[in-house]
Symmetry: C4
Subunit: 275 residues, 4 copies
């Protein structure tokens, strides 16, 4: 069926269509994404603990962050507003969609959010298996990111390193930058460099670390950082190093998390405010 429109309708229609598309798109961008509903309070408590535990280990300060997927919707994740990790409380946790748009900023301006939240959103998009992400500036990792000396598993609690920890070179994605993952495109490049690995170093910057649970991403951050120190020390001894075998790493990862709950209690009781 062909509809013949009288003048001036036939001329205006394309213009109207473009205007409409623009307005719908702008509205979509301005209206916040829908919430997945209130997350499990236990998950929020553990996320707060994660910030404080990593701060207590000198692995987060005012610039790093940790997130976890929402327990009611894998297309949402939870993360603190931009703030010092050792001060995070439950009311500072904000819900984001996977484009890293906040569901509700609690009245804060967008500038009060972590600029680099795209690290989290883009990794969650690309890696359905990942439930929690850390972005850290852990000092022991930076010499490895800057030299590209490959990180290797020295210690069984860091066995996952056997699955590979590549280095992300931001220049390959965007040339000269201010080094921050400040938009979706940079987040996608980082997620691509991560690939199927558990973690990725970021040259001149730090690392992004993933895991299938929140407690494990905290443990992986602690032990990735420790392993880098151990490897640096071992390299200075000047003798061949007997790293963990890939087969050992697989067997360790198959049972990993065992015993973590008790360690988590120990870490947590040191950092949570006393009632």
């Amino acid at each position: 069926m062909t509809v013949s429109l009288p003048f001036p309708c036939n001329r205006l229609l394309p213009v109207i269509a473009i205007l409409l598309a623009f307005c719908v798109s702008a509205a979509a961008q301005q209206s916040p994404p829908a919430s997945a509903g209130p997350p499990d309070p236990k998950l929020v408590e553990d996320l707060v603990a994660a910030y404080r535990i990593l701060a207590d280990h000198n692995l987060l300060d005012g610039w790093g962050h940790v997130s976890v997927r929402h327990d009611k919707n894998p297309n949402r994740y939870l993360m603190a507003r931009g703030m010092s990790a050792d001060m995070v409380t439950a009311k500072d946790i904000i819900e984001f969609d996977l484009d890293s748009r906040p569901v509700d900023t609690h009245g804060l301006p967008m500038s009060a959010l972590f600029t680099e939240r795209y690290i989290h959103g883009e990794i969650y998009k690309r890696r359905p298996d990942v439930v929690a992400v850390v972005h850290t500036h852990a000092p022991s990792l930076i010499p490895f990111g800057d030299t590209k000396v490959p990180l290797k598993p020295m210690y069984h609690r860091a066995a996952f390193i056997a699955f590979g920890v590549p280095v992300f070179e931001i220049r390959d994605c965007a040339g000269m930058t201010d080094m921050l993952i400040r938009n979706a495109k940079l987040g996608q490049c980082l997620a691509q460099a991560l690939g199927d690995h558990p973690a990725v170093l970021m040259r001149g910057h730090g690392a992004a670390i993933t895991a299938p649970t929140l407690q494990r991403v905290v443990a992986r951050t602690i032990f990735l950082s420790l392993d880098a120190s151990l490897q640096a020390e071992a390299m200075k001894l000047g003798a061949p190093i007997n790293y963990l075998d890939l087969e050992e790493a697989k067997l360790i990862e198959a049972r990993e998390g065992h015993g973590l709950a008790r360690t988590w209690e120990g870490w947590k009781q040191k950092v949570m405010p006393k009632p």
Copy 2:
């Protein structure tokens, strides 16, 4: 004398014997070993302090452990349930036989015990002179375990290193594993690698350390870890190292423990809960 049994007895007897042996063995495994009775409360207090002192020195976290032989029966030892070392209290101490079976789990499931308790039981079996055992993941020891650079005595408080600290390679015992000493056989291999030495490094994992008293096993853990750092530093200076002589080590060990009681009080008062 030959006894001739009527049919079907002559055929059933072997079956009955096998069934009986199975049931006795199963009963033995299921019924807990007998208790040696309540241990000296001072010993329990010192064991609690040992966990907390080693945690305070960053030598135990949620995964390492310390044990001591029961003062009323050398075939029993005392050790905490599986938990973070800095949180251990007297009521968390559990009694084990030398097969590492708990006398009483205080109502906890077996999974709430340290998986690697076999390190302790199998060393106590093989080494009647050993009264206390530590299993630690001390960071400074791991580069030496992974490179097999021999640990040497740099400092008189770690003179016992002169008696040798071998490296245990779990692959020689059981091929590819998840690295944990999770059964008696692995514990026996480790105890064999320890031999008559005061301590043994575990490749990719940590160390097991022994002593004739609880206070000395704590001191040995602290100073073995310190000595490894000192040796690594000295090796980097690039000059020949003048280690302690074996004769000096023997003279030191003959008086060792002298002065330890006062240091123990200092260590302890920092970590025990204030009344």
Copy 3:
């Protein structure tokens, strides 16, 4: 017009002129410089926090100091009296002119001021762009000052190192000394060695660090010190190091300070006395 003076005036005039000049100069030296008025209390609070934050990071002890230009007059700066950095309070802050003469010593003798205040005054004189100065004995910087191995930017929070961190050799200015910047001439030599750079190492001594804000000079001190540790570690790995590019550094510095306010809150709440 020529004025002919009767004897003895014509002979005494030059003597009188010299005496007058001497007296005016002595009076100027003895009378304290005028105050710029009370500084913004928020600035004073942040200056107190700066001392305590740097002490908490082990970057100031009883000998280092931090100063900031007076918010009401760029020819005055504010600095603590000579004291341990972790004990500074608002009432310990003293106002100086750019010759480093105190406006009011609060009744203290001159010997109760920091001898090396000339570091600050002479840098403020030479560098109108500088708003805050730190003098630190940060341990990680000293090996670089003593070897003249150039500091390089390893980590984006220390990107300003790309603009150059020269080494000041006090022997070039004054031969053999007790190493202290104890007068204006030595301060001028140091300011000259600093040139247009953000910081200068002082051989056998420490460093002077500048920034366009008080919060940034604290952050620069923390991250200059961290970067030195990272570079030393990376150099020991024995592989080529991929430092930040000058272009990256420029882009980073253009946005630097972003996010610093939240980290400042975290640093500050740990060190300020609780009400």
Copy 4:
């Protein structure tokens, strides 16, 4: 004059003389030395602070010690009973003569005193200029004592190293020992190795450090230990090191102590029990 004694006196006299000498000597050894009277309470308070400050810097534990000459008699010195440094209070301070015999043990057995007090007594005997002595097991010093790599002044607060820090080899004095300075003879050998230097390293053990004041011996201990770390780090950078010149060291030592009082207040307020 010759006196002719009747028999049996002429035969017994030599025996009597020997017996008398023995008894006098035994009495001298058993009767405690006379006290110099109560020391200045401020000196005692500073000595208590010295123990706690050095413990807070991880330079004393249950085994090291610090002493100061009695302010009323240079032939007496003050030192804590054998105990953990962080627990010392005024009532634990004991007075010794220069043979390291206690004036009054406060009812304690001799075994409750530090075995190695001879380090202090023998140095005070040989060095009238020394007013305070520290014996430390500072970890950063041990690699230098074991390798004989000479310590050099990297940092102006440790300028006194330019006057030489020799290494004491106990084997040269007494062959194979348990390494402790457990008698006057070993103390004399150590004092001889010290010579006119400000400090002496003890191979496999630690160091003895001297100064003309109590506050300076604490500062020298802290900065000797720091300088050793700095030198080790600088040596790893692989470039020539520009140490302090002897002339600079002399100028620094001539003013040293300036500013120390304020740092002392900072160190002290962190460690003294709050009223």
